[in-house]
Amino acid sequence: MIRHPKRLFRFRRKAAIPAHFWVAITLALAPISQAWAKNEPINYSLSGDMGAQFLTFSDNPAHPDQSNSNPQPSFHLSPRVSMPLPWKLDDGRARITAKPFIRYDSVDPQRSKLDIRELYLFVDQGEWGMRLGVLQEHWGILEGRRLIDVINQIDLVEDPRGKEKLGQPGIHSNILLPDGQLDFYLLLGHRNRTFPGRKGRFRGSSPVVGEATFTSGASARTPSYAVRYGTTQDILDVGVSLFYGLDREPNLILSSSTNTYTPEYRKVGQMGIDIQATLDHIVLKLEALERRGLKKNDNVSAVSTGMEYTFVRSIGAWDIGVLGEYYWQDQGVDAPSSTFDDDFLVGSRITFNDAGDSKLLLGVMIDHRRKDGALSMEYETWLNDGWTLKLSGSMFKTKYDNILSGLKNDDYIKTEFICNF
């Protein structure tokens, strides 16, 4: 996935998981401890990945506090444990899943962290299912921008493209309908977006280090609510979603005395639509968002469209896909200027169909109004059965002094060796 690196400027952290939530998790774990006490065998599956990552930059950093360390090495470990629960359910089953994520970064302390990506109790009862705990959810279908993806907060310091997300505490219930499904979410506790620290790369001249603030009487404990209806009708997959609660994307307030940004979160209500038409040769995608806040500047209308066409086995066994996406956004004049107001992405996805299952994604994101852009690539191949090599990188091009110019020295290549277990 290619995501525009400009996003990283609109953005910090600290989990606010309510206490009653942990009580619920502990209760859910009770049957396991029982089995343990009775010395019964516990079935569980362990999988996950760990890896070493090296960020190599083309230039020295642009801002005074940033570290000169180049490359910037870091390590991660993310095991995933899943355990069926010995509950008696008529036609269903229950299990518990845990997936922590640990990153140690040698340069930016903000990037070193332990986050609970997932930790939930899952109950599946035929036509009805429920997850209770810390969740991950993905909405949206476009490659370069996830407009309607609102359940989880972005872990921006982990991945400047915004691809990684923090675990979200809450309850999700899912009801199957004859030709679709309904999903309800009660999201408990707000997660603040993570940002690179003073020493870190991928930031503007002012780091986002201030304590998060909340407007309109909200706090980090304010719950959010979401519902989504999804249906498949022949070639069409359609989803309609509603969200009410704290917006995941903060306003950044610059403090001139300290030259730092403070994120500010506000209450919004929004409606999202996602449509995919899977035609014979081509996949067409559309996402639309209408957001309303208390202030006029919180109102947003946005539309993203995209298409992907694949030439199967075009060069030898290679499948070559061509993709194009366009993003449009309308927002109040005083609002934080959107980086996606009139942008497009042109890219290509190559599946090599070789023994290493290699894949390459190339893309150019162009903001033709601001005359800047970013070139991105992602490549992935197996080294052997357990190890994967991932290479990714971006080059930023900016003509005028704008939001992207803070990144002008941050052209990078990320080399990752990942061990899957």
Partner: protein, 266 residues
């Protein structure tokens, strides 16, 4: 007016006869052989199995993947089985899943789950002639060959190993097939598919699939133990070894819902 009607009716009749007469023999014979093969499969309800996939390149280098496979028969009481295949090893692909809803008269619906992204992606019809997980099988090849999806023509009978086989030419009727036609060998004893030859859009033989080590389940349903697909263009080969067949598990259609692929990973 009446005259015209009568005339056109006559015309239609003779035309239909003219077209039908010369081919009815071989067409019917081909169709009934394929129907007999499909008939042995009726009522299997559901089955699970394991699959070992060996990819062999020109120089003979082999890489191995393991999968678990679930098949549900006609859940909508119409034609079209549901197939779910999930990689169990190596670790780098573990969890990657392919879901196929076979269809009649239309190309199958195919979804791909990439576990790292925890996202399910629907694949465009044309892409289904593309490679399944780097193997010599395409998504199209792993579908269930619904009976109504082909035009049939019986070609001949010939010896195949120790058996006699009926050779049937099958032309796909669904859109965007990667093949102009396939030639299937059915053994005359049990109506099992023993060999499939795939001819591309230029009528060139591109691949040959050999099916062997058949075993009968529930006293009726035949399942091949070894499927080897040779690509004559690239010289590459894929061998599937099927094992641990179990029937009547009580799989429900929920497990074959694309939106629940992620959640039912474990």
């Amino acid at each position: 007016m009446k005259k015209i009607l009568l005339l056109s009716l006559c015309c239609t009749f003779t035309l239909a006869q003219a077209f039908a007469a010369p081919q009815s023999n071989t067409t019917d014979r081909g169709r009934s052989i394929a129907a007999a093969w499909k008939g042995t499969d009726l009522g299997f309800r559901d089955n699970v199995s394991t699959m070992e996939m060996n990819l062999i390149d020109k120089s003979g280098q082999t890489s191995t993947r393991s999968l678990r496979m679930k098949v549900l028969e006609n859940p909508a009481k119409g034609p079209g089985n549901h197939i779910l295949m999930r990689f169990t090893s190596p670790e780098s692909v573990k969890g990657t899943s392919v879901l196929v809803h076979s269809k009649v008269g239309a190309s199958d619906d195919v979804w791909l789950l990439m576990p790292a992204l925890r996202k399910t992606k629907r694949i465009a019809a044309v892409d289904k002639s593309g490679s399944f997980a780097g193997s010599e099988f395409s998504y199209e090849d792993i579908g269930t060959m619904e009976h109504a999806n082909f035009k049939y023509e019986w070609l001949r009978e010939e010896a195949c190993n120790k058996l006699t086989c009926a050779i049937v030419k099958q032309t796909p009727l669904y859109p965007h097939s990667g093949y102009n036609f396939i030639v299937v060998s059915y053994d005359t004893l049990e109506n099992r598919q023993m060999k499939v030859e795939y001819f591309d859009r230029k009528d060139q033989l591109v691949k040959t699939l050999h099916l062997a080590d058949y075993q009968q389940h529930k006293g009726k349903h035949w399942r091949a133990g070894t499927l080897s697909m040779s690509n004559h263009i690239t010289g590459k080969k894929t061998i599937l070894k099927m094992a641990d067949y179990k029937f009547d598990i009580g799989l429900n259609k929920r497990e074959f819902r694309p939106s629940l692929l992620v959640e039912l990973l474990e």
